[in-house]
């Protein structure tokens, strides 16, 4: 707990009353817990207290993220679990089983698996909830200094709270006063948006006397503000105090989750508490993503359910016929059960009985097993050392555990550029000042052109030694006092929102919100214009060794629409000047006409820089006269105080003064490409994954990056560029663009020919054109054009457009999409794609928080998709195929038996076997296969990206594969029933006792089943680790052990009724005929499968099979050199021996020799 320095006594309790009706605004009164807040329409609310009493909620700061407590856990959790259709279905079965006339199985055959599934889920839920409880408790019991000492959870809206340095903010607070000068306080928002730089917040400017805590106790201001929402960067409200109005903005707010830095103490009024805080409002449930396999699985389960009903109907009809023809005559030995008086009723009951015994075709353990497998795959992703970034000490993380197999099916990758393809480490590289270009070489050219790195230290003691610049001309021009150069760097040192921290004299640390800004301020610092510190009203710099303090009149914020920021400062001499920096597109439009010539030169430079892949900004200034300032500041103030449309009005005010500016120059910042980006993109495109780059950068920059990461190549037949500058022109341009495409040397064929164009095309489209292309009428055309191109780059796109593009492909292509990005602007795209990947890089963790997978470097994407995704898909498909197969093989035996037992729903197996089959005897080997199987090793799938294709085409598990599995399962069940039937019906033991009794038959069929499915899993498993061996052999061993135990005399003596199979295991398993039957059944089941698999492999080998075969030969050569001759010779001998039977000389030998030679060359090289 935090120490409490003094306790404030506040006797008035604060309650916030909320009306249940839709809230339009909220009112909070300081130090008054009884103040009632209601919608505007009921403003005269105080007398109506009692009327509203019952409708009204008390708002405390207590946060409950946990779902259960000790008492409610069982009922609530069970209730939640039974909302799953599958669980309810099994509950329904359980109820059916309790009716004696229907019950064909004892209740425990259903309740044991059901209980197991429910308890596994319950344990998982309970652990999750326990951790939530713990963190809730921890958070809620934090001490906070309200005016009275309180725990966090007891803080109420309207309280005034004291915060100290390095404390977390309890609730959303309105900053009232701060210990720092000018009512400033500094916060870090890492927990909110992941940005680690310190931001500044300012207390409400007017109640200056509130600095004294005693005054605070009597403060009774009233706040009217917007209702709770999740917008982190916006707050709108008004403070009413002593008949005056004060506008409130986000600048005055301390949000829950922030940490106070560099500030001794501050006081805040709680505006939103508990679940109303912006932090909690933001932690809403993310959209639940499902994989295509999931959806397919659900459909299939429905089909199986339909199949089950059909089987039930067929058998019920059979029962009706049997009871009428045979059963009615057989009544002298077997009378109908009392309620049954005719064959139709008997058939009706028999339907339900069969639903019970055939229910194992709808596998209860399927969903649990799938979850377990996915969890395993997620852990493998987390554990992968090759996806670990040692520079930033970050391992890859699978944040969602339910999407793994979809990673093996991705067709489209949408990538952000900055921070994703590039490192997002900015360096000031080139500049253009007053038409003069400075700076040589980007990092790519540097090696060829070795120029001297500038040494700033003799010139400027405050310079940062890490800074590199390669053109001494610029330093010269600063030294000689070139006015434009000075003004240029002055602008860079003043126009920004960077915070500085000066630990000791001259040791400056800048904390910038964006790396670009940091790079610019750092550049100015090295060229002698050192930004030292700021207050809300001033900026202090050291200009060429001279300390200057500017008074800061206004900051005209940056935002995505304005794409520029400005400051208005008054220099010590009293002159007011506006400095503006921003995107060239917006800034060049606002220049004074006299800049025409300079603008042309600078534009050329800008284009040049952009072509080098540099990020550019244009810089301009404007002198503002005193009168003009007065007028403007008045309009600004009124806009600032506006309650509605405040932002629009502010933007209009800003717009008014950012006119007729004088151009100073331009900056060019290099953002280096990440390691391995071009290789990764090349590999992904070889794997038939289309990579689209969606970036907010300029077209030229984007194109350049496209070339440098080898998305665009010179081999491309044509790179189409669609760019319209304004929306109005775009109408025509879009069509013109199309016409142009038609008329280009390789005219783009009409849509229906798109599939078979041969050449490679690239497409570059900018935001304006994209907006047009995304309209309904152009949509289809855009998609087909874009998909025909090998590379697509969208530049100048907004975050919303990024998401729209993703949605477009999802809608029209039915393909699996993956979005990868690192910044807050990628969040929408990450959320709307099937799979979202976040790069944990420089721009905070918002993207990571929204993502399903996160890692530190773009190049890990190849491993995530081609290795982990591919394996996951393969494993999941093999798992599902086998799972359906084994359940059908198991269950359908009952169906065949029905024809021989009067359709009476008699089971073939012992009921313990039915209970344990799915959860003990056959679960582990298939789980091991689902978790550990590999067809080819990881490096092979990276070397051979074509291996990724089956996943994209969804070849390994689809409806066809499902039917094949089902058919195989049914075939197996036929063999498993009719072989014992044919053999045992007349067979006897060697003592003469017939073998055709029910128990022997049951034990024989069950044993044959377990052996057949074990052999089948052995065939399906391609990668036998120790664990697979243990599970497969262990399951078989376990089967026999459990069988012997269940059939033992001991258990029978205790429960004679349940364990009436006593002695069956021994007497059955000792009979040679039984074993001969099992061997026969196994051979009949497996031989056709073996033959089919071999034919498929031999005649139509999949790429993976080929790679695998080669690999094994090569590994045999590389690892077992002494043995390989023997090995290969034996292959030869065999092949040759049989080859000679049919034709003289087989080609096998030569091929093998070639292969061996190739591989040994490979090995020895």
């Amino acid at each position: 707990c935090d120490p409490v320095y003094f306790t404030f006594v506040c006797t008035s309790f604060i309650h916030l009353w909320l009306c249940v009706s839709a809230e339009e605004e909220r009112k909070v009164k300081a130090n008054d817990r009884d103040y009632v807040c209601v919608p505007k329409s009921h403003f005269c609310c105080i007398p109506m207290n009692f009327i509203f009493f019952s409708l009204i909620l008390v708002q405390s700061n207590c946060i409950m993220t946990s779902k259960y407590n000790m008492l409610t856990f069982l009922p609530v959790n069970l209730f939640e679990q039974f909302q799953e259709v599958a669980n309810t279905y099994f509950l329904f079965l359980l109820i059916l089983q309790l009716i004696p006339q229907i019950s064909s199985l004892s209740w425990f055959t259903t309740i044991v698996p059901l209980a197991l599934v429910l308890s596994i889920t319950a344990v998982k839920d309970a652990t999750d909830d326990y951790f939530r409880h713990r963190s809730d408790n921890q958070v809620n019991n934090h001490q906070s200094q309200v005016l009275i000492r309180e725990r966090w959870m007891n803080v109420r809206v309207g309280d005034i709270i004291k915060l100290e340095n390095n404390q977390s903010v309890v609730a959303d607070l309105l900053l009232l006063s701060s210990s720092e000068p000018h009512g400033l306080c500094y916060i870090e928002t890492a927990e909110l948006d992941g940005e680690t730089n310190v931001k500044v917040r300012q207390s409400v400017s007017v109640p200056a006397e509130l600095g004294d805590p005693n005054n605070l106790a009597t403060f009774n201001g009233e706040v009217v503000c917007e209702p709770p929402n999740n917008k982190l960067d916006r707050f709108c409200g008004t403070l009413y105090w002593r008949d005056k109005k004060y506008p409130l903005t986000n600048q005055n707010m301390l949000l829950r989750g922030c940490v106070l830095r560099n500030t001794e103490a501050c006081y805040g009024l709680v505006i939103f508490a508990g679940p109303d805080t912006k932090l909690m409002q933001n932690s809403g449930r993310t959209k639940f993503k499902r994989t295509s396999i999931d959806r397919l699985m659900n459909t299939l389960v429905l089909w199986i359910f339909g199949f089950l009903v059909c089987m039930g109907v067929i058998l019920a009809v059979g029962n009706a016929v049997w009871e009428k023809e045979v059963g009615s005559l057989f009544q002298s030995y077997l009378p109908w059960d009392p309620p049954v008086d005719n064959f139709l009723f008997s058939a009706f009951l028999s339907f339900w009985s069969y639903v019970i015994i055939l229910n194992t075709v709808v596998p209860i353990s399927l969903y649990v097993s799938v979850e377990v497998i996915r969890l395993g795959h997620s852990y493998f992703i987390n554990w992968d050392r090759q996806m670990f970034c040692s520079q930033c000490n970050t391992a890859a993380e699978a944040r969602t555990t339910t999407l793994n197999e979809e990673l093996g099916q991705v067709e489209y990758v949408f990538s952000d550029k900055t921070g994703t393809l590039t490192q997002n480490i900015m360096s000031f590289n080139k500049c253009s000042i007053n038409g003069q270009a400075y700076g040589k070489g980007t990092s790519r050219e540097k090696n060829t052109e070795r120029s001297k790195r500038l040494d700033f230290t003799p010139f400027n003691p405050l310079a940062n030694p890490d800074f590199c610049f390669y053109d001494e001309k610029l330093l010269e021009s600063v030294k000689v006092g070139d006015w434009h150069s000075h003004e240029y760097f002055r602008l860079l040192s003043l126009c920004h929102t960077v915070m500085s921290e000066e630990k000791s004299e001259g040791e400056l640390v800048y904390k910038a919100q964006s790396p670009d800004e940091g790079a610019l301020v750092k550049a100015a610092r090295n060229f002698g214009f050192v930004f030292r510190s700021r207050t809300p009203g001033t900026i202090t710099t050291t200009e060429l060794g001279r300390t200057v303090t500017y008074s800061l009149l206004a900051i005209l914020d940056f935002n995505n629409i304005r794409k520029r920021m400005s400051v208005i400062v008054r220099n010590p001499a009293g002159r007011i000047r506006l400095y503006c920096k921003g995107a060239d597109t917006v800034l060049l439009e606002r220049l004074h006409p006299c800049n025409q010539e300079l603008m042309t030169i600078t534009s050329d430079h800008l284009n040049e820089y952009a072509a080098d892949g540099l990020r550019t900004l244009a810089l301009a200034y404007r002198d503002v006269s005193e009168e003009e300032w007065e007028v403007w500041s008045e309009s600004h103030r009124s806009a600032d105080k506006a309650v509605d449309c405040r932002e629009d009005r502010l933007a209009a005010a800003y717009d008014k003064i950012e006119q007729d500016m004088m151009l100073l120059g331009a900056t060019a910042i290099e953002d280096k490409l990440q390691e391995g980006v071009s290789e990764t993109i090349a590999l992904l495109s070889l794997a038939n994954i289309k990579v689209w780059v969606l970036t907010g950068d300029k077209q030229e920059t984007a194109v350049n990056i496209g070339y440098s990461c080898k998305m665009l190549t010179d081999d491309m037949m044509e790179v189409f560029t669609i760019s319209g500058r304004t929306v109005q022109r775009q109408e025509g341009d879009g069509v013109a663009g199309d016409d142009q495409l038609q008329g280009s040397p390789c005219p783009l064929p009409p849509t229906y020919l798109m599939d078979n164009i041969s050449g490679e095309f690239g497409l570059i489209i900018n935001g304006h054109s994209l907006a047009h292309a995304l309209e309904a009428d152009m949509e289809v055309e855009f998609v087909s054009t874009a998909c025909a191109c090998k590379a697509v780059i969208c530049c100048r796109v907004t975050p919303l457009q990024k998401a729209q593009v993703v949605e477009l492909i999802k809608k029209h292509k039915k393909a699996v999409t993956l979005a990868i990005g690192d910044g807050a602007n990628d969040v929408s795209m990450i959320k709307s794609a099937h799979i979202g990947v976040g790069i944990s890089g420089q721009e905070g963790i918002q993207a990571v928080l929204a993502s399903d997978y996160s890692f530190a470097q773009f190049r890990f994407l190849q491993r995530l998709l081609l290795v982990h995704g591919r394996w996951s898909y393969l494993r999941m498909c093999r798992f599902l195929c086998y799972f359906f197969y084994k359940n059908f093989a198991f269950t359908m035996v009952h169906f065949w038996f029905g024809f021989f037992c009067g359709f009476s729903a008699q089971t073939v197996y012992d009921q313990f076997f039915i209970t344990l089959y799915n959860i003990v005897y056959t679960s582990l080997p298939v789980l091991a296969m689902g978790i550990f199987d590999q067809d080819v090793p990881d490096h092979r799938s990276l070397e051979c990206p074509k291996l990724y294709e089956p996943g994209q085409l969804n070849l390994l598990f689809n409806k066809k594969e499902f039917f094949i599995c089902i058919a195989q399962g049914i075939y197996t069940s036929v063999v498993l029933f009719f072989m014992p039937y044919a053999v045992l019906s007349n067979a006897t033991q060697s003592t003469g006792v017939p073998l055709a009794d029910y128990q022997t038959f049951a034990a024989t069929t069950a044993t044959a089943l377990v052996i057949v499915v074990s052999v089948q899993i052995a065939l399906d498993t391609g990668f036998w680790t120790v664990i697979n061996h243990v599970f497969v052999w262990g399951s078989l061993g376990l089967y026999f052990t459990i069988m012997l135990a269940l059939h033992s005399q001991t258990l029978f003596r205790i429960f004679p009724k349940q364990f009436h199979f006593v002695g069956c295991a021994q007497s059955t398993l000792l009979q040679p005929v039984v074993w001969l039957t099992i061997a026969l059944a196994t051979a009949i089941c497996i031989v056709p499968v073996l033959a089919f698999r071999f034919l498929k492999l031999d005649l139509k080998p999949q790429l993976s099979d080929t790679v695998r075969t080669h690999l094994c030969v090569s590994v045999a050569i590389t690892t077992v050199i002494p043995r390989y001759f023997a090995v290969c010779l034996s292959i030869h001998d065999f092949a040759d021996f049989f080859g000679a039977l049919f034709k003289g000389n087989s080609p096998i030998r030569s091929i093998f020799l070639c292969e061996i030679l190739r591989n040994s060359c490979f090995f020895f090289s």
């Binding site: 004696p100 064909s104 045979v326 005559l329 002298s332 030995y333 077997l334 009392p338 987390n382 554990w383 050392r385 090759q386 670990f388 040692s390 000490n393 391992a395 021989f900 037992c901 009476s904 590999q934 090793p937 051979c944 045992l984 007349n986 067979a987 006897t988 003469g992 006792v993 017939p994 009794d997 029910y998 128990q999 049951a1002 391609g1022 990668f1023 680790t1025 697979n1028 005399q1049 002695g1063 007497s1067 005929v1073 001969l1076 026969l1080 051979a1083 031989v1087 698999r1093 071999f1094 492999l1097 031999d1098 005649l1099 695998r1108 075969t1109 094994c1112 030969v1113 590994v1115 690892t1119 077992v1120 049919f1142 080609p1147 091929i1151």
Partner: protein, 369 residues
């Protein structure tokens, strides 16, 4: 030959270069452990279906199955079996009158005699079975209609058997022992076999009635309730509806074969899996003096016809059979083995031809590297 190997990949070389700094200095590296398990590098056996593995497998299966099949077939053919249907469906069959006049209620038993001839002598022990057809001993309601606790001699279950026995649970206030439909429908024909000497005299063949049930059934599963003697032990219980005599009079001559542990009863209680079944009835032990247990010649089967099956179109048979190591006559198993073995061999040959003719191995040489 299994084209397989244990792969042991060397340490990932990609990383060693870039790790050099950072790892040592930082207090806690989050770098995942480099274990074979976590890095999915567990040594593994990777079998592949190649011509070298599959084709030999087919030939081996063929070569193993065919001899076994021949052996089984020969053995089965050496077993002598004789079967005769004595239901009495046809007018000219000896038991026709018994079959049509009989009902459960009649008090007098009906007898009939069936003559038959064994063409070949039966050596060693000969087993005598009765067979029933169209009798659904595997019907769900039938199978569960018993109380194993009662049959195991449990005193409480004797007086208050499980509800599964309904409607054969109680008569009035008395509980039925043994309860349930299975016991109630106990097969109660008695069969006697006479050898007709060449002289014409009837020579009774000695039929052993013990040793026909499972050892566990006889000694573990079925036990008489405790009591001074059987009638007291079963005091207060009623005989099953269809029975002529109470359970403790099943074999008054031998107390070890009476009550619940009567072997005929035990054999009946072991329900059959299929509607046509046979159950062991008696054993004719090999007699030391003569060469064959049942010499060839004429025999007379004397039937006390108590068990009606015609009502549900059932059939009753008497079967005599010798036995070998693999049990009774079972030609199917041998034929099945020969068939499967031949198919495997044939498949092997076909696959080999296909493999040679359409070998696509040459295409595989150009896998991308």
């Amino acid at each position: 030959m299994m084209a397989s190997s244990y792969n042991a990949k060397d340490e990932d070389g990609h990383h060693s270069g870039s790790v050099s700094h950072g790892g040592a200095g930082t207090a806690k590296s989050k770098k995942p452990d480099n274990t074979a398990f976590k890095q999915q590098r567990l040594p593994a056996w990777q079998p592949i279906l190649t011509a070298g593995t599959v084709l030999p497998a087919f030939f081996v299966i063929g070569l193993i199955f065919i001899p076994i099949g021949i052996g089984l077939y020969v053995t089965s053919n050496n077993i002598k079996e004789f079967e005769i249907d004595y239901t009495g469906v046809n007018v000219d069959s000896p038991c026709y009158t018994c079959a049509n006049n009989f009902s459960w209620n009649s008090t007098t038993s009906c007898s009939c005699t069936v003559n038959f001839t064994l063409e070949q002598p039966f050596e060693n022990n000969v087993y005598m079975y009765y067979g029933l057809s169209n009798f659904y001993q595997n019907h769900r309601r039938y199978v569960k209609s018993r109380d194993d606790r009662q049959l195991n001699g449990d005193a409480t279950a004797l007086k208050d058997p499980s509800n599964d026995c309904e409607p054969y649970r109680k008569i009035g206030v008395e509980t039925i022992a043994p309860c349930g439909a299975i016991a109630n429908s106990l097969f109660n024909d008695s069969l006697e076999l006479y050898y007709v000497e060449p002289s014409g005299a009837l020579n009774a063949v000695p039929l052993a009635k013990k040793g026909i049930a499972w050892w566990t059934d006889r000694n573990v599963k079925f036990r008489n309730p405790a009591g001074v003697d059987l009638p007291t032990a079963f005091k207060g219980t009623a005989k099953p509806v269809n029975w002529r005599k109470p359970v403790y009079e099943l074999d008054p001559s031998d107390p070890d074969n009476n009550g619940f542990i009567n072997e005929d009863f035990i054999v009946w209680m072991r329900t059959a899996a299929l509607p046509t079944f046979r159950k062991l009835y008696r054993i004719i032990h090999k007699n030391q003096s003569s060469t064959s247990t049942l010499p060839s010649g004429r025999y007379v089967l004397n039937i006390t016809y108590n068990y009606p099956v015609l009502s549900f179109d059932g059939r009753k048979r008497m079967i005599l059979s010798t036995i070998s190591w693999m049990g009774g006559k079972n030609p199917f198993l041998g034929i099945a083995y020969i068939t499967v073995g031949s198919i495997c061999f044939f498949l092997g040959v076909v696959l080999l031809i296909i493999h040679h003719k359409y070998d696509t191995r040459s295409n595989s040489a150009d896998i991308p590297n």
